[in-house]
């Protein structure tokens, strides 16, 4: 039976975000092997990065944190949505934002949030050649 089962070996795509050690392989970083995971890492990095924070790329990221102390109105939400869409369109054009939902008191599972906590749930789809998929990420501020 030897040689019938072959260990499946996949090439890694990128580094997971948030960055973590990989104790199993003793690598410095945990890596992503699936395109969707890779895109989720990239999307989180993009949306959590404040504009001006990235070396030599001052427009990279979003201004979401700037809106945290603005009035909790539709207008503020629209500004945040526009900011997210613009940033994703520029730096991750393969991803399409479908919807953005805001949670300020309870999350999607009706769990209470802390004071001044904001969660943003983003539904997205992506396409690469003939493949496409969708997913959701939740950002917490």
């Amino acid at each position: 039976m030897k040689g019938i089962y072959k260990k499946l070996s996949m090439k890694s795509i990128n580094i997971q975000f948030p960055i973590k050690d990989d104790p199993a392989t003793n690598n410095l970083f945990l890596l992503n092997y699936i395109t969707k995971d890779a895109l989720v890492s990239d999307l989180q990095l993009l949306l959590y990065t404040k504009k001006g924070q990235r070396y030599y790329m001052p427009d990279y990221g979003t201004n979401i944190e700037k809106f945290l102390f603005d009035p909790e109105t539709k207008d503020t939400e629209n500004k945040i949505i526009a900011d997210i869409r613009e940033s994703v369109r520029t730096y991750m054009p393969e991803v399409t934002i479908n919807s953005v939902a805001f949670y300020t008191n309870q999350d999607v599972g009706y769990n209470d949030l802390q004071d001044n906590e904001l969660r943003i749930s983003i539904d997205f789809t992506y396409s690469s050649d003939v493949f496409s998929d969708s997913g959701t990420i939740v950002l917490s501020f």
Partner: protein, 623 residues
């Protein structure tokens, strides 16, 4: 896992270059581990951080190197530091200069002012205008018709009463004053200050000049020492360009400054002396002036007393070796240092004419027999500046320092080219005399410095006094190349006269035309605008004469060389036309030019009789 080894390009410096190198390196060496190089990947973030750090290091390395190069350095502190390293002594604010008429009214004695009431004004007299203080640098003596530099500067005007009787004489001395107020800074020297290369920063950031630095034994001085202490050579620490400078040019008390050598001026004899008590002056980028004193101990310098005779011990020898005075002396403990300096200057010290009209601290000395007359003379002192104060500026700009350093470094304080000699002649301190005009040139393998003075009648003078020539020779000896032979001699004066034949208009006053022509030709030969070895091209003169109202045409213009009989005995090298005519030799014009020689200067000595104008109207011409 690394699969191949790709050489890392270490020469790349910019963010984009380093980033591209790192991506290429990862793609080659870790193709299975990392494939996402989009901007949003964590890997790209780490690559960007590395590239950014590399780029910043490159910029800082470039910047640090740039600041070491005089051509490219941007920070003023660095440029000043480079300049000092290259031996350029950076000046601070420059003071404006003007002339002031010091006028007193003196009682008459016969047909002249009574000489016993002609006063003297001590040096350092202050006059004030527009909030700026100006000072004299020499004693003003109304008894002398000359300034301290030998220029005639006294005018006497009788003052009449209603009956036409002279009541007094208004006697005016026109003297140079320099902007700035004198200050004295005192510092008691303790063990903390008596250290090698002690640095003393003066409290003012507008220091113009250090007048004198003295150290007096004792630490209990209530006030400032008298002026005589500041002039006593035993007390003085001399300012030098660099501490290794062994000699300075100072006044020679035994230099024979007598009327026969000075030509009745108060010019001083100068000489070079060896000094060990010395300091250098530096300005920082904020304009503060720091004095840096020497590093040796004068009291331990056994070499000065004779090394062999002293029979030194090893310790003394070591002390002597380490603390020798070649770079100057430390100031001993238990002394008090007094720094006398002037502050002011800057572009704001350039003020208009007739604005300096007030007196500051002045000491006018009148020693006549009658006290009431003395008081009257003292009270009559008035001042006024007939011309604007000019020349003040706020120190050198960074670009000026940048460019001057190059020249200073190439000259190295020595006379290498002929022009260096000329430059040095005019750098000689004014109290040792200054020629009106000078030129330097080579002749028979020697350097000739040719000088011309100006007499009390405002005419060129080539019988300069002996002391001036001695001082120039002595001063240049400190800079000349060892194998240069330098000769100082009087220059030549070529006196000219003109005969100008003009066709003029009938309608214009003939006397006006003649006067205008004489004035035009005189102005063309104004000695204050001419230099030695300057050829006279007559084209411009023709043009100027033709532009005079009433002149139709120049029919003839003849130039003569006047020799002897009240004129200079110097003879022009250019050939003459025929024999002596019109009291001189007519010069054969070559290329419509009168050619000079290296040690000469042209002058129309008596314009009213040396410029002959013949006016012809249309009816006088044969057509």
């Amino acid at each position: 896992m690394a699969t191949t080894n790709t050489p890392v390009p270490y020469s790349d410096r910019t963010f984009s270059q380093i980033r591209a190198d790192l991506i290429a390196q990862i793609q080659t060496s870790y193709p299975d581990t990392f494939q996402d190089f989009t901007d949003s990947s964590v890997g790209s973030l780490l690559i960007d951080i590395n590239a950014g750090v590399g780029n910043n290091l490159s910029i800082n390395t470039d910047r640090a190197f740039q600041e070491t190069q005089i051509d490219y350095a941007q920070q003023s502190a660095n440029i000043l530091q480079i300049a000092r390293t290259l031996g350029f002594n950076i000046p601070g604010n420059r003071a404006s200069v003007t002339v002031v008429d010091f006028t007193v009214q003196v009682p008459p004695r016969g047909d002249r002012p009574d000489p016993q009431y002609l006063p003297t004004l001590s040096s350092g007299a202050q006059v004030v205008g527009s909030g700026k203080i100006f000072q004299t640098s020499n004693i003003i003596d109304w008894n002398s018709e000359f300034s301290s530099l030998g220029d005639p500067n006294r005018t006497i005007i009788p003052l009449y009463d209603g009956n036409g009787i002279i009541q007094a004489y208004s006697v005016t001395k026109r003297e140079v004053v320099v902007n700035g107020a004198t200050n004295v800074f005192k510092k008691i020297i303790t063990a903390t200050e008596s250290v090698p290369f002690y640095e003393l920063t003066l409290p003012d950031n507008n220091v113009i000049q250090i007048l004198s630095v003295i150290a007096l034994a004792g630490t209990n001085f209530a006030g400032n020492p008298p002026e005589s202490e500041f002039l006593d050579p035993n007390n003085i620490y001399y300012e030098v360009d660099y501490l290794a400078q062994q000699t300075v040019f100072v006044e020679d008390p035994n230099g024979g400054s007598n009327p026969s050598t000075t030509g009745n001026t108060s010019m001083k004899a100068g000489m070079w002396i060896d000094v060990t008590k010395k300091f250098v002056k530096e300005f920082d980028s904020n304009g503060f002036c720091t004095l840096i004193f020497g590093g040796g101990n004068g009291q331990l310098d056994i070499f000065l007393d004779g090394f062999a005779k002293a029979g030194v011990t090893n310790q003394q020898f070591l002390n002597n070796y380490l603390l020798n005075t070649s770079l100057g002396e430390m100031i001993p403990v238990g002394y008090t240092l007094f720094v006398q300096y002037t502050t002011g200057g800057g572009s704001s010290s350039n003020i208009g004419a007739n604005t300096i009209t007030a007196l500051g601290n002045v000491q006018l000395n009148v020693n006549g027999s009658r006290a009431d007359f003395n008081n009257a003379v003292t009270k009559s002192l008035t001042v006024n500046n007939p011309i604007a104060a000019i020349g003040g500026n706020d120190g050198l700009s960074i670009d000026q320092v940048r460019n001057l350093v190059r020249y200073n470094f190439s000259a190295q304080g020595r006379n290498v080219t002929v022009n260096d000699y000329l430059f040095q002649v005019f750098k000689m301190p004014g109290k040792y005399g200054s020629p009106f005009r000078a030129n330097a040139f080579k002749e028979n393998n020697k350097i000739v410095i040719s000088i011309l003075g100006i007499g009390s009648d405002g005419k060129l003078d080539n019988t300069s006094n002996t002391l001036l020539k001695q001082n120039i020779a002595e001063y240049l000896s400190g800079y000349r190349m060892v194998n240069d032979y330098v000769e100082i001699r009087d220059g030549e004066i070529f006196n000219l006269s003109f005969s100008i034949d003009l066709y003029v208009m009938d309608s214009v006053n003939q006397a006006d035309i003649a006067n205008n022509v004489i004035n035009t030709v005189s102005a063309y030969f104004d000695i204050t605008k001419e230099h030695m070895n300057q050829d006279i091209m007559l084209g411009d003169l023709y043009k100027s004469i033709n532009e005079i109202n009433g002149v139709n045409n120049i029919l003839n213009l003849a130039v003569f060389n006047k020799i002897g009989n009240g004129y200079s005995v110097n003879q022009l090298r250019q050939p003459y036309v025929g024999t002596i005519t019109n009291g001189g030799y007519e010069i054969q014009l070559v290329n419509n030019t009168i050619y000079s020689v290296e040690d000469s200067m042209f002058e129309i000595k008596y314009p009213n009789r040396d410029i002959e104008v013949l006016l012809r109207k249309k009816t006088d011409l044969f057509v």
